[in-house]
């Protein structure tokens, strides 16, 4: 109802997302990650050591072997290779360990993200769902979670081991020659510049692409859910044209993002190749000139073998840099996804400062209420008084009182003004009025889907802001105009009202709602699976189920918001009997357009633009000959 939808452009990447992501994962799996880090370290070192061993093989075995013959060095060759095999073995083992652990860490983290998102979602105020497109919320669970999976499962380990390798290689390189190393730094600088240029461009277009993608997917979702309306209005061509425009935009953006991302690989590789030559030439020139070679160990002469090994290491290094550059776009996308996930997790939950609880009680000897853990059918509000340090128990009856309630979904526009009413336990109140008069709003306030300032609404004499929301809602049955059913059997859907209800109780409730008749005619009766919000049932049948669901809940107070609008009046007349029994002894708030449904209410409240303009029972209001009278007779006289 209120406010504009907060879709618009996807939020820009906030700072600190990467740090938070790492911290969160580390918080979940500290031991796992330490093991992974150690394994990555070892396997990176083992792959670096290869180039060193190659040199030893050449210098210590092959060179002397050339003069001394194979037999003399055979043992040494085997020894060197055995050491190498050992190192390789450890490397493979580490890689085996860390990839397996990462599978656990990655999927485990995702599960926790999904769970925390879902848990948070359940605690969010209704307003959140009013102001966010459902497709947008959904994409956090799908697209964004997927992007995070990539970053955790692939990019992070790859980045980590690349960075370690680069540092390791850098140290080894330094131990060979400072001059050559400086040249390597130049190469890295150029690659980095190119990477930043194209990566940045790609990142920029990536944001545009995600935006276009979200837009197009939103459009698809809307058109698919409204496909039947599109057909009825023969709006197919317009929809196609609009779609093609969005599709073209997405194509442009994604192509630019991909182009800039794709060229990173060839650029880094070939800058590496070019510098390979430069290094080779520079190295041999240095050697020929006999230049002073500075390295970690001090000043040492440069040998050609050193240059060769150095070149091998450089190749390895440029491969690592290439690996990093290929991860950049994925990292960008993953971080964008993580940021949206965190946004959902950080969302402010529905506020609940209530402290009154609903507890089972039994009657003491003097009729006083005593809290008990037994399952009695007697409930009471446990109301602790902080200042006095006492606890009082008030029996749950279902009395509801509104006092001068003002409310607007947006502050500027009041939907309810100065509404007061008092429904004693067991009374049936009906709300009548034009569409948009504020009928549903009143019920939304009673179960605190929306909050109003203190003290205006009392339940059993207790300010509802002091009652814990779950306990308040537990004592209010709810049947809404828009029926929502869940994937599951018919029985499970009815049991939703009270999870510990037996099959018999559910069937009983279905009979009460007159739903038993059509349910038993379904292919598998109560075990028929419902999917897609009960798509296989008619509107009226779904409403009957929703009534049965509320009947099972067995609450002292009930809200029926257009509960029977899609049920034909004949069936309704049949339901009526059950409904009467259902409402018996409960405080009931009924909203209905059909005045026949509200006639027998204790009090009928006529609302107009958020004001109560008439109230009283049917006979009173008819006698008043006011709006209700006109409404009631109007159906006949207007034509």
């Amino acid at each position: 109802m209120p406010g504009p939808r907060q879709l618009g452009p996807r939020p820009k990447l906030k700072k600190g997302i990467f740090g938070r992501l790492i911290k969160t994962i580390f918080g979940y799996y500290p031991v796992h990650l330490i093991v992974v880090a150690v394994c990555l370290l070892i396997s990176a070192v083992s792959s670096i050591s290869m180039s060193v061993f190659m040199q030893r093989l050449i210098d210590d075995c092959i060179m002397p072997g050339l003069t001394e013959g194979w037999e003399a060095v055979a043992a040494k060759v085997l020894g060197t290779i055995a050491v190498l095999a050992g190192i390789y073995g450890i490397g493979v083992l580490c890689s085996f360990i860390y990839t397996r652990i990462m599978a656990i860490v990655c999927q485990g983290t995702l599960k926790r993200f999904r769970d925390s998102m879902f848990d948070k979602m359940q605690t969010l105020p209704i307003k959140y769902f009013d102001t966010h497109a459902h497709g947008d919320i959904m994409s956090t669970y799908t697209n964004d979670a997927d992007a995070v999976r990539q970053i955790i499962g692939q990019s992070m380990p790859s980045l980590f081991s690349s960075v370690i390798s680069i540092f390791g290689l850098a140290v080894v390189m330094l131990s060979y020659s400072l001059w050559l190393f400086l040249l390597v730094m130049v190469a890295l600088f150029i690659i980095g510049k190119a990477g930043a240029h194209f990566g940045g461009k790609s990142g920029k277009y990536m944001v545009g692409r995600q935006k276009s993608l979200a837009k197009e997917e939103g459009f698809i979702e809307e058109m698919m859910t409204g496909l039947k309306v599109v057909k009825v209005f023969t709006h197919e061509q317009e929809a196609k044209d609009d779609f093609d425009k969005l599709n073209e935009q997405l194509f442009d953006d994604s192509m630019l993002a991909d182009k800039n991302g794709n060229v990173l690989g060839p650029i880094t590789n070939n800058v590496g190749n070019i510098f390979y030559v430069v290094l080779a030439v520079f190295g041999s020139v240095l050697y020929s000139l006999g230049a002073v070679n500075v390295c970690l160990r001090g000043v040492e002469p440069l040998s050609l073998g050193m240059v060769v090994t150095f070149l091998g290491m450089f190749r390895h290094l440029s491969q690592m840099v290439g690996q990093i550059s290929q991860q950049i776009t994925m990292v960008m996308m993953g971080l964008a996804g993580a940021s949206r996930i965190f946004d959902l997790i950080d969302e402010m939950p529905e506020e609940d400062n209530g402290y009154c609880e609903l507890v089972n009680v039994k009657r003491g000897e003097n009729g006083e209420l005593i809290e008990t853990t037994e399952k009695t059918n007697l409930w009471a509000w446990k109301h602790p008084h902080k200042e006095a340090g006492t606890v009082t128990y008030t029996e749950l009856k279902g009395e509801i009182e509104l006092e001068n309630v003002d409310f607007g979904y947006v502050p500027e526009k009041l939907v309810l003004e100065d509404v007061s009413l008092h429904a004693k336990a067991g009374e049936k109140f009906a709300f009548v009025g034009a569409t948009g008069a504020g009928k549903t709003t009143i019920t939304n306030l009673i179960n605190r889907f929306y909050d109003i300032p203190d003290g205006k609404i009392r339940f059993d004499g207790i300010n509802i802001n002091k009652i814990k929301k779950p306990d308040l809602r537990r004592s209010l049955g709810l049947v809404l105009q828009d029926v929502n059913l869940f994937t599951g059997t018919v029985m499970e859907n009815i049991r939703y009202g009270r999870l510990d209800a037996t099959d018999e109780e559910c069937i009983e409730a279905a009979k009460l709602a007159n739903a038993d008749d059509f349910i038993t005619r379904l292919p598998e009766g109560y075990n028929t699976m419902l999917t897609g919000n009960g798509a296989s049932l008619s509107q009226g049948q779904r409403q009957l189920l929703s009534i049965a669901r509320a009947a099972v809940a067995n609450t002292p107070a009930m809200i029926l918001d257009e509960a029977t609008s899609s049920i034909d009046t004949r069936t309704e007349a049949l339901v009526q009997n059950g409904m009467d029994r259902l409402m018996e002894g409960r405080t009931v708030f009924v909203i209905a357009h059909r005045l026949s449904t509200v006639r027998n209410a204790k009090s009928i409240i006529v609302l107009d633009h958020g004001h109560i303009i008439e109230r009283g029972n049917h006979d009173d209001l008819i006698a008043q000959k006011g709006v209700y009278y006109r409404l009631y007779t109007g159906a006949f006289e207007m034509d």
Binding site: G218, M224, N269, S566
Partner: protein
Amino acid sequence: MVKILMKSIREYKVPSIVTPLFMCGEVSMETMMPFIMAKLIDELEKNNLKLVLSYGGILIFIAFLSLFFGTMAAKTAATASCGFAKNLRHDLFHKVMDFSFSDVDLFSPSSLVTRLTTDVSNLQNAYAMIIRMAVRVPLMFLFSIIMGCVINWKLTLIFVAIVPLLGGAILLIITNAHKIFKRIFKKYDALNNSVQENVSAIRVVKGFVREDYEMSKFHDRSADVRDDFIRAEKLIALFSPVMMFFMNVGMLLICYFGAKLIITGTGNAFYVGKVFSTGELSSLTNYGVQILSALMMLGFAFIMITMASEAGNRVVEVLKYEPTLTGEPNGLTVVPDGRIQFKNVSFKYSDSAARNSLEKINLNIESGKTIGIIGGTGSSKTTLIQLISRLYDATEGEVLVGGHNVKAYDLKSLRDQVAVVLQKNILFAGTIKENMRWGNKEATDEEIVEACKAACADEFVSNFPDGYDTYIEQGGTNVSGGQKQRLCIARALLKKPKILILDDSTSAVDTRTDAMIRNSFKKAIPGTTKIIIAQRVSSVEDADEIIVLDGGKIVERGTSKELIAQKGIYAEIYETQTKGKEE
């Protein structure tokens, strides 16, 4: 499947073909490089600066060529894959737009959304990979083996021997992983489905305080998905250690035999008398790495393709589907008048349905009349009227509009002149004006106001701060149920239809407004045939004829008075609804 998908390449054939060609170029350059690097190293060791320089020059030349081919391939690949995805989305969307109601029922909107979004993205990724890798990987494999053989075929044989071993291992992993993946996708869909359900049913969840229940249900499902994913990923995770293992074994063998070769100077098989050098040893190890990593890339590609093939199947299912209901290409474009006839019409929703939803309906409605339809829950009222604008086709018998069979009309013309206000109607994101123009693109502001007045919507619309420019949220969540229904009626009125059908379209509107709407119809569209489905007797009481449906059959028909006199179902409904009114 592939053939159908390939139809969406169209104008992107050139980049799709050129990309692999560029890739060929890049791969040839890449595989040449270690060979020349080996030469360079050998010369370097001999401190032959001149030759080092010339080999270096060749290398740089090759590097530039490779850079050229690489960047070109990168660009054409982006164009090809994004273009393919664009066309695929286009084809899907246009196809779905031509679906009939029963086709939509068959696929369900939510599954169509998945096919158009996630599935296409998966296919796009797979396509990008295929055109870049399909040529590159086998070529790299082949070239590396050839170059390796040129250097030393005996040593290269070591790698060639390893290839089937590694290939077998990869195959084993993939087939096992594929099985799990197939299962996962189903579970994953179910998981997302439950999120969606909770988002739209949040009021019910909160109303019944089922947050904890839903959470624990979700946690179980997500744990299930996690466990399967871990199982699959652990298998995939074997890839890299297995690969490393074989690569290392290969390296060690080459080092050993290579060293032996160099020392014993047995020489090279191709160039007899030429001695195997250390430079060649190092370049041979490079080729070894390339051979095996090509194999591994092939493995990854396989995984991606098997994953995408699921998506491909689902997409092709839509592309291949023949819409069950198509208009006559050169059909009638004008509905002469608002006459409606049903001749012996029977209907069932699917061939497998046990009983007909409509049974032998015969009806004759004259132009300009108002017809009321009333009947119990599930009595096929909606089904009946959906046949008039040919949202479904009659299973038996024929439906005539304006004296012609509905099948003789051009579909768009028929539906433009037979306006239906659906029971489950929706507004689209956009301003009220934009929504109204769905009825008539060219409608002037005055016409829109006019239509809204006729539907009793003008009153509340002009009360909105932004009036007709008020932005309607997706699904129309920011207007009340009754307001939404009135806007939907106004939208239909803008079509100036010959026949107007209201399917329980005023259920959330109060009786007074309901009566006002019907009154204004009389003035605004006297010549239009009006069919009103309603629950309220008052909505149909003044109709020229009332049809009472029960179990898919017409059981009563006549004016309100006649039907009351019949003392049948209608009389009973009338009784319950008006009871006590005269008191």
